[in-house]
């Protein structure tokens, strides 16, 4: 970590405050975590995945009591094992906070199940040799990943009992690398390693940065898989996804600088176009390369999630927003979701997945705790063995 003591203090505060979301916005009786701090919000299984990881981070930093974290994590995993409805081991995207049953008619979601599993497996590795590891493995081994292929070679995005499989597949680069990794590495219901190579890897260049890009250009797609998987020494047909995320982050920043004359919010210290709340609701904001839908709304979590990729730019941006707008955008759980200066719009909410990526990426930047633990999991080792090339550091002369 190259940050100064004041930077360290700021990151410590941001990480601690953000982590409080997973203590405050939870149903303690079943461990379900709210999708957002908005009253009446349902549980998001992806937020639970981030939350399980964040709780362990809180314990490692001494912010949370070990026994309480252990009990909360175990309660959560048992809820998912015994009470939450699943189909072939997959969970619905949103759940009723009280009952754990499907909320509204949300879809059985492959990526959200994967993000939950990442959190569960991380917690299992963190509390290795305990009941938590046993239940986490039980949940992971229960998932029939091959079923989600729907007879093809690409994983489907979801399934609904009323409609069968959704007509959308994870067919191009995006946040789903962790989904494919967990599916390939499964000891019980793996998908063929060929599936890893099926999805497209389109390359685009913006301001000199070459990026294997996601069509939305949303920054979170370059961050979520990296929250758990340490891609620094991994290559895929010559592609380093870690360097790819560095380039995507820098391209995103350049895009904001380029558009700063159109939108007051943007600037060299205010960038990070990512999916978040906006004046017109939740949108998949993004930059180039990609569709680059944007309206001047910035989520601080975009920069926080890129801390391991371009720490200097991310940290400067986060501190800039904090110092300039903290009265409007900073609260009890750290940064609220987003803001837009042109429309004088300030989010009043915190989103579980956005505070989640903030906590995990600050920790990875500071200590690499999540990466270190997660890379020891057998399923991940199996996926690396089947699909990835590992860079071996040369011995110094």
């Amino acid at each position: 970590m190259n940050a100064s003591p004041s930077d360290y203090e700021f990151l410590n505060k941001l990480e601690y405050d953000s982590l409080r979301y997973f203590v405050g916005e939870v149903n303690p009786s079943n461990g379900l975590i709210k999708d957002s701090s908005r009253p009446g919000a349902p549980c998001s299984v992806a937020a639970v995945g981030f939350g399980l990881t964040a709780l362990c981070i809180g314990e490692s930093r001494g912010w949370l009591d070990k026994k309480q974290v252990y009990d909360r994590v175990l309660t959560t995993l048992l809820t998912f094992r015994d009470k939450v409805k699943n189909e072939h081991g997959f969970f619905y995207h949103f759940l009723d906070m009280r009952t754990g049953q499907r909320a509204w008619n949300s879809e059985l979601s492959s990526i959200d199940t994967a993000l939950f599993m990442a959190g569960a497996l991380f917690a299992g590795e963190y509390f290795k040799g305990t009941k938590i590891e046993e239940v986490a493995n039980e949940l992971y081994e229960r998932v029939d990943w091959a079923w989600m292929l729907n007879g093809g070679k690409l994983l489907c995005m979801g399934w609904k009992p009323e409609e069968d499989f959704l007509p959308y597949y994870w067919d191009s680069y995006n946040e789903a690398m962790i989904l494919y990794a967990l599916a390939v590495g499964s000891p019980t219901h793996p998908i063929d390693k060929k599936c890893w190579f099926e999805w497209l890897r389109p390359v685009g260049i913006y301001k000199g940065y070459a990026v294997v890009f996601c069509y939305t250009g949303s920054l979170f797609t370059y961050q979520y898989s990296h929250a758990w998987i340490d891609f620094r020494k991994l290559k895929d047909g010559g592609i380093s996804y870690f360097i790819n995320s560095i380039n995507a982050s820098k391209a995103n920043r350049e895009f904001c600088i380029e558009n700063s004359n159109r939108y007051k919010t943007y600037g060299e210290n205010c960038w990070g176009l990512t999916a978040c709340l906006g004046p017109e609701g939740y949108k998949g904001y993004g930059a180039k390369p990609g569709e680059a839908f944007h309206d001047g709304t910035i989520a601080p979590s975009g920069m926080a999630g890129s801390l391991p990729f371009c720490w200097s730019e991310s940290l400067s941006g986060l501190k800039f927003i904090y110092e300039r707008h903290k009265n409007f955008i900073y609260g009890k759980y750290g940064f609220k979701d987003a803001f837009n200066l042109d429309k004088n719009w300030w989010s009043e909410e915190y989103l579980g997945i956005d505070v989640g990526i903030t906590v995990l990426m600050i920790e990875n930047y500071r200590t690499g705790l999540v990466w270190d633990k997660f890379m020891k999991i057998n399923a991940i080792k199996s996926w690396i063995y089947k699909c990835m090339e590992v860079e071996v550091e040369e011995e110094p002369e």
């Binding site: 009446g40 909320a103 509204w104 008619n105 609701g281 939740y282 998949g284």
Partner: protein, 227 residues
């Protein structure tokens, strides 16, 4: 001249007794009604009011809108506004139906134990209250049977809290008086028997025998009464 038909003029023959039991019955009914109303109000209407309150509907609308937004951000490529409106309306309608169904189911589930408790309460309450009357009545019936068979040693004791204390007390007095009279007749008959025995030599044999037979008959009748 025909007699005027009998008309009950005083409906409160035993004022205290009748008022007491009227109050007891009313209390039970009020309790049942109160519990039922509370169960229905808090169980069904409480749940419905909560689910359909302006705040809750607003929360639900926001949930639906948010989920549609998430789906659009993830899956849709373009403007699906009209489709989204229809889908939101469909979702909301489905949600409200589910809420109503859940509320009714929840009320039914909560009412079953309440009704069971109320029925048990009424059953045991009824037994307890009626026992206060039925107990003395049973003992009166049993004592009357014993008296009919000549046992004048019975008493009409009542327990604390029993009704009809006055009636049983009067009956007890009546039996005691009867027992005393029978005792006296028995004593007088014995005395009469000894006198007749003494006078038997002075009386004609036929008359003496006739008196002894009469005394024997009295003795025989009195022997049925245990005193």
């Amino acid at each position: 001249m025909t007699a005027a038909p009998f008309k009950r003029k005083n409906y409160l023959i035993k004022k205290n007794f009748q008022l007491k039991y009227t109050f007891s019955v009313a209390l039970i009914l009020l309790t049942v009604m109160g519990a039922s109303v509370a169960g229905i109000y808090f169980g069904m209407w409480g749940s419905i009011i909560e689910n359909f309150s302006k705040f809750k509907v607003s929360e639900n609308l926001e949930n639906v809108r948010r989920i549609a937004d998430y789906e659009q951000a993830r899956y849709a490529k373009g403007d699906y506004r009209l489709e989204k409106i229809f889908r939101e309306a469909e979702l909301l309608s489905q949600r409200e139906k589910e809420a109503l169904k859940d509320a009714l189911g929840s009320v039914n589930r909560s009412l079953i134990p309440k009704i069971t408790i109320l029925v048990l309460l009424m059953f045991f309450g009824g037994i307890f209250i009626s026992h206060k009357i039925a107990g003395p009545m049973y003992r009166i019936e049993r004592s009357a049977q014993a008296i009919r068979e000549g046992d004048l040693r019975v008493n009409f004791n009542t327990r604390a809290g029993d009704e009809m204390k006055e009636a049983t007390s009067n009956l007890g007095e009546m039996v005691k008086s009867l027992r005393d009279d029978v005792e006296k007749i028995k004593s007088a008959n014995i005395a009469l028997d000894s006198k007749v025995e003494l006078l038997s030599g002075c009386l004609p044999a036929k008359d003496s025998q006739s008196m002894k037979d009469a005394i024997g008959q009295i003795k025989s009748v009195l022997s049925k009464y245990k005193t």
